[in-house]
């Protein structure tokens, strides 16, 4: 009886294992790092605290970590306060944080400390105020996707790989990511011309702004409409640049598609082989977090 039970248990565990494996089969994310965030930041639980008294100190601490793979250079942060209730010593500054790399598996972290003071609430018992913290930074996504080149699709010879669409749900350690590529080998004279349909998505909840204008979001300046939701894109196959139908994407609806092809024909004598397709996205990203604070009267 115990033997029957243990064999049933083994079968169950095997089926469960296979199920888990199939659900996680998108193991290769298109990058050595995965993730759908750039800078991750949050208010410290106790700074600011949920309640402060009027005319008392309001410590504000924001923890910022670069969880992505791109370095942040000359990013800008901005603290938004209701000036009639709170005053602070510094509301904006630049921020630089290195991202993950092969030599450094974790990105840089920092704490932004701002000393504030709650003003008088007058005759009121207390007031609720909202603090906001915005980060604006230029960022990059570099997706390296190993794709199959079949220079003679009609050949019956043994091939080392198969041309297939690929999906990536885990992101490439950045808030904008490549989620899908559909390769096509177009047969032309004596070879093929590889073509790719590439889908790019905003994987986080921030705003996309052209990297030249991203800091305007944090400094309160007006951003031209044509600079919003704009991403610069470059695609290359084994260091050979592809020609795409657009060099700027517009992610107004959260995603966009790009069509690229190799200018030269890959001759059929080259057979089938794997080749790295690199998609480089350059953009600015802006995010805001908020926290409520109650300023109580001392009386």
């Amino acid at each position: 009886m115990s033997r029957i039970f243990s064999s049933k248990k083994s079968v169950f565990l095997t089926i469960l294992f296979l199920f888990v494996l199939s659900c996680t089969s998108d193991i290769f994310s298109g990058s050595e790092f995965t993730g759908s965030k750039g800078l991750n930041f949050y208010f410290d639980n106790n700074a600011p605290p949920a309640y402060v008294y009027e005319e008392s100190a309001v410590p504000i601490r924001i923890f910022v970590e670069n969880t992505g793979a791109s370095n942040v250079v000359n990013g800008v942060y901005s603290l938004g306060i209701e000036e009639q209730y709170i005053k602070v010593d510094k509301k904006t500054d630049t921020i630089n944080l290195k991202g993950k790399s092969l030599e450094r598996p974790y990105g840089d972290q920092t704490q932004i400390i701002v000393e504030g003071k709650a003003k008088s609430v007058g005759s009121q018992e207390g007031i609720n105020s909202v603090l906001s913290f915005s980060l604006c930074y230029p960022y990059e996504t570099k997706a390296n996707i190993i794709t199959c080149i079949d220079s003679n699709p009609s050949s019956k010879e043994k091939k080392v790989c198969t041309v297939n669409p690929q999906s990536f749900s885990a992101g490439q350690a950045a808030p904008i990511g490549v989620t899908n590529i559909v390769p096509r080998m177009i047969i032309e004279k004596n070879g093929v011309r590889p073509q790719y349909i590439i889908t790019i998505k905003n994987l986080d909840k921030g705003e996309i702004i052209s990297s030249d204008y991203v800091n305007y979001f944090c400094t309160g300046k007006s951003i031209p409409t044509e600079q919003q939701n704009v991403i610069d894109v470059e695609v290359s196959l084994s260091d050979e640049k592809l020609v795409c139908n657009k060099n700027k994407l517009n992610l107004k609806d959260g995603s966009d598609e790009l069509f690229c092809e190799l200018q030269r024909i890959i001759p059929s004598v080259e057979g089938s082989y794997n080749s790295p397709l690199t998609v480089k996205l350059s953009y600015g990203y802006a995010q805001t977090i908020t926290k409520k604070i109650r300023i109580e009267s001392k009386n």
């Binding site: 030599e103 010879e157 080392v160 260091d239 080259e270 057979g271 794997n274 080749s275 690199t278």
Partner: protein, 307 residues
């Protein structure tokens, strides 16, 4: 005492049952492989770092069949990588000669000869963090299968009466003959005055068979790949019954020479005139097949970028 006698008796029986007489021939024409190729462990290693700039690929080549290889057109090729990243320094495009490897013989029926072929690859620095690829080794070589068996021919298969016969014509199963193409079985159809042999040929080696004159197209780098009129062709060079070649009588061959395999096998038939045979008798039947063969082996490799 009784126990000792029993033990000695048992030993005597055991020894007599396991000794073979002197000079008993061991058939060397067995097996379904010709040339077998395999990547030597760690050559290349599973991971290559791009600061190493060179990588050695060593391929073990074994002749498991009964025909010698190593002629001028017998070659091994290496492919399956992006030439912008990995460049063969020698021989991968034109192929490297398969070394002279003797096939099994009557004197060496179980010995297979072995040698190694080396390729050197140049690794360019990567612009990505890693480059996984599958490298493919392709061996293209000419081979021959000789199938020998004994068949019964009966000039009068339907005689009246119940007289005893020296032999009765029957189909013969041959198995494999030390090559990737095998004569699987011979169907013997005895009729008055002639016997018809239906010979079934199969591709048992797991690779691709093609015409010898199409050898240049076997290369993965060939301008033109093996086409419909070259792939799955075996040349029937001779069919001998006794001392007589019956190849001119063979039907089902293309251009009187070639057999096209479909789904890995095909049949053709030949006949021998038995009018002058007198009575039923056994004769040796020899079928000689000539062809070119392609075998492959894969190895997964990853090149890792060193920052």
């Amino acid at each position: 005492m009784r126990k000792i006698i029993l033990l000695l008796l048992f030993l005597a029986i055991f020894i007599s049952c396991t000794t073979t007489g002197p000079g008993e021939p061991t058939s060397f024409r067995t097996g379904s492989q010709g040339v077998y190729i395999n990547f030597v462990t760690n050559q290349p290693p599973l991971k290559i770092y791009d600061d190493e700039s060179r990588a050695s690929v060593l391929i073990e080549v074994q002749n498991l069949g009964a025909y010698s290889v190593g002629k001028q057109l017998d070659k091994i090729y290496l492919s399956g990588f992006d030439h912008n990243i990995v460049q063969p320094l020698d021989g991968a495009f034109n192929g490297k000669q398969i070394p002279n490897l003797e096939g099994k013989t009557a004197y060496t029926p179980t010995t297979s000869s072995r040698d190694f072929v080396e390729f050197v690859l140049s690794i360019n620095p990567l612009s990505v963090s890693k480059y996984p690829f599958k490298t493919l080794a392709t061996a293209c070589y000419g081979y021959q299968t000789i199938a020998e068996t004994i068949v019964c021919i009966d000039p009068n298969p339907f005689t009246r009466g119940v007289e005893k016969k020296a032999c009765i014509p029957a189909s013969v199963g041959l198995g494999t003959q030390g090559g990737p193409i095998a004569v699987g079985n011979v169907n013997v159809d005895a009729r008055k005055g002639k016997t018809v042999f239906t010979i079934r040929v199969s591709n048992v080696g797991g690779g691709d068979v093609f015409r010898r004159d199409a050898m240049p197209q076997c290369s993965p780098y060939a301008q033109k790949e093996l086409d419909f009129n070259e792939l799955d062709f075996v040349e029937v060079t001779d069919v001998i019954v006794g001392v007589e070649s019956i190849k001119p009588t063979c039907k089902g061959l293309i251009n009187n020479n070639f057999l096209r395999l479909q789904g890995g096998s095909a049949s053709f038939n030949c006949e021998v005139n038995t009018m002058n045979a007198g009575s039923e008798q056994v004769r040796p039947l020899i079928v000689k097949l000539d062809y070119a063969y392609r075998t492959t082996a894969f190895r997964d490799v990853e090149i890792v970028h060193v920052p």
